[in-house]
Amino acid sequence: MTRFRSGRAAVAILSSIVFVLSILYLFPLYWMVVGSFTTVAGTLKVPPDFFPNPVVLGNYGSLLNDSGIVTWFKNSVVVGCLSTILAVGTSASAGYALGMMRFPGSNVIFGGVLLTMLVPSAVTVIPLFLVMHALGWVDSYQGIIAPGIAYAFGVFLVRQFTHTLPTEIFDSARVDGAGEVRLFWSIVVPLLRPALAAVGIFAFFSSWNDFLWQLVVINSDSLKTLPVGLASLVFSSGATNNTLIPLAEVMAGATIAFVPMLIAFLLLQRQFLDGVSAGAVNGI
């Protein structure tokens, strides 16, 4: 990065401010972990302890015994994995077709995909629910997963990525007699791997963190996912914003939902962060 003479001192001061901001920004998550290891009395203490004293595991114990957190976790994993596999599959095939092939209507389809990305997902919650009702999929795994199969953002990402691929490879493979299916599996998919990794990560996370749709489509306890289950932990206490909420347990549950995602994010941060900016920044 080019440095400007007048900028040095200013950068030092401003970056300290940004650093403090980043700590404040992360603080609620630290507080969640602290709360999860604190006694119930400790979470209500004024002034609070900034490190749990004593460190207790009781919240996790009672959560595992009294709530459905094991089921919620399992459901979130199953739903997340299935949605990811399906979304990656459809994004790979459709993104490749839209990016590399010219066929009648391809521009119309891509335009449609882009437009649907602008439609707030809340707009379609009701008709989607009616579709699931007609299919008999309300309160089922299929019902939770189905809306994520056609992942417009994934198609968009893959289609953009195909423009960076060398077309000569495809031509020479065709000359060598590879059929379109063979070409797709042995050449296109491996080349698309970075884009597909990003699509997979986003599909998994949006499923893991989805709230509105899962709240709408899930009725029975045995199908609850982590977000829906954690919310029910708050509401089953029959109160919002008062002392009846089992705070320490809720914090333990939130920590259980958060930690796997944090680990995945830290391991895959490149794909993650590059994926976030991929759609927005090009052509400057």
């Binding site: 998550l29 629910f129 995602m261 927005a280």
Partner: protein, 276 residues
């Protein structure tokens, strides 16, 4: 194409069309009757719905500029730093996004508690007495806004950092040789080049903010006295608590229209978002 097109049509395209159709109908699970504009008339004369549109508007008007300006300011500073610090900041600001708004709302439910919440005790140091931020008509919406800001800076910051890093080196070198100071470089070189990126972020944050649901459902349930009622929360209540699907569809279509108009205006004023 087919494995994508079939679910795309059934689960994405058709629901959008169906939402528009249902907004002109009285909708039951089995039968539908055309009622013309009756649902819209009902929405526009319903005080809670109007309140919900107003509140959503207030949220967008505050959160979108604040989020954009704050994250742009942070990004502008961060791109000056070494690679290592850049990646620290990208990760630090993105972690709350990974945690999701459900988890953060649960934490804020505790932090904002008027008796033993940390936020209140912190303000107590400055002599501010116990305030039930989420429980008062005149503060609840601002509390929701604050929680939203505390969860949503990650994506704009990442995008702005990438955008600023994509400004060609030669351009910056040239500015430097011409004696440009840092503020001048930002004002005349980097930020003008960033216009499409800023436009993209404005559109994305507008759509995101107008869809607020989890924070409201978990922190206030629209209360007290409808003061944090938002459009999406109303859609959910009308459709699934009160079973009025036609009314809720009219709300959805109005939300769609308003977001699309806002998106078009923002993109037009700031330059096109380029897709290839």
């Amino acid at each position: 194409m087919a494995p994508f097109l079939l679910p795309f049509v059934v689960f994405v395209l058709w629901p959008i069309i169906a939402a528009i159709l249902s907004s002109f109908q009285r909708v039951g699970y089995i039968s539908r009757t055309w009622v013309g504009l009756a649902n819209y008339a009902a929405v526009l004369t319903d005080n809670i719905s109007l309140q919900a549109f107003w509140n959503t508007g207030v949220l967008v008007v505050w959160v979108v500029p604040l989020e954009t300006i704050l994250s742009l300011a942070i990004a502008v500073v961060v791109v000056r730093l070494s690679r290592r610090w850049q990646s620290y900041f990208r990760v630090a600001f993105y972690v709350p996004v990974v945690a999701s708004s459900v988890i953060l709302s649960l934490i804020w439910l505790w932090l904002l508690n008027p008796v033993y919440g940390l936020f209140d005790q912190f303000l107590g140091i400055f002599g501010v007495a116990h305030v039930d931020w989420l429980g008062q008509v005149n503060t609840a919406l601002y509390a929701v806004m604050f929680v939203l800001l505390s969860t949503s800076l990650g994506i704009p910051i990442i995008v702005f950092i990438a955008g600023l890093n994509a400004v060609p080196r030669e351009v910056l070198e040239a500015a430097k040789i011409d004696g440009a100071t840092w503020p001048n470089e930002l004002r005349y070189v980097s930020l003008p080049l960033m216009r499409p990126v800023i436009g993209f972020i404005l559109v994305v944050t507008t759509i995101g903010t107008s869809q607020v649901f989890a924070v409201v459902e978990l922190l206030t349930k629209g209360g007290p006295a409808s003061s944090t009622e938002t459009v999406v929360y109303q859609i959910w209540e009308r459709a699934f608590a009160l079973n009025d699907l036609g009314f809720a569809s009219a709300l959805s279509v109005l939300l769609l229209l308003i977001t699309l108009v806002a998106a078009v205006v923002q993109v037009r004023t700031l330059g096109r978002v380029r897709y290839d």
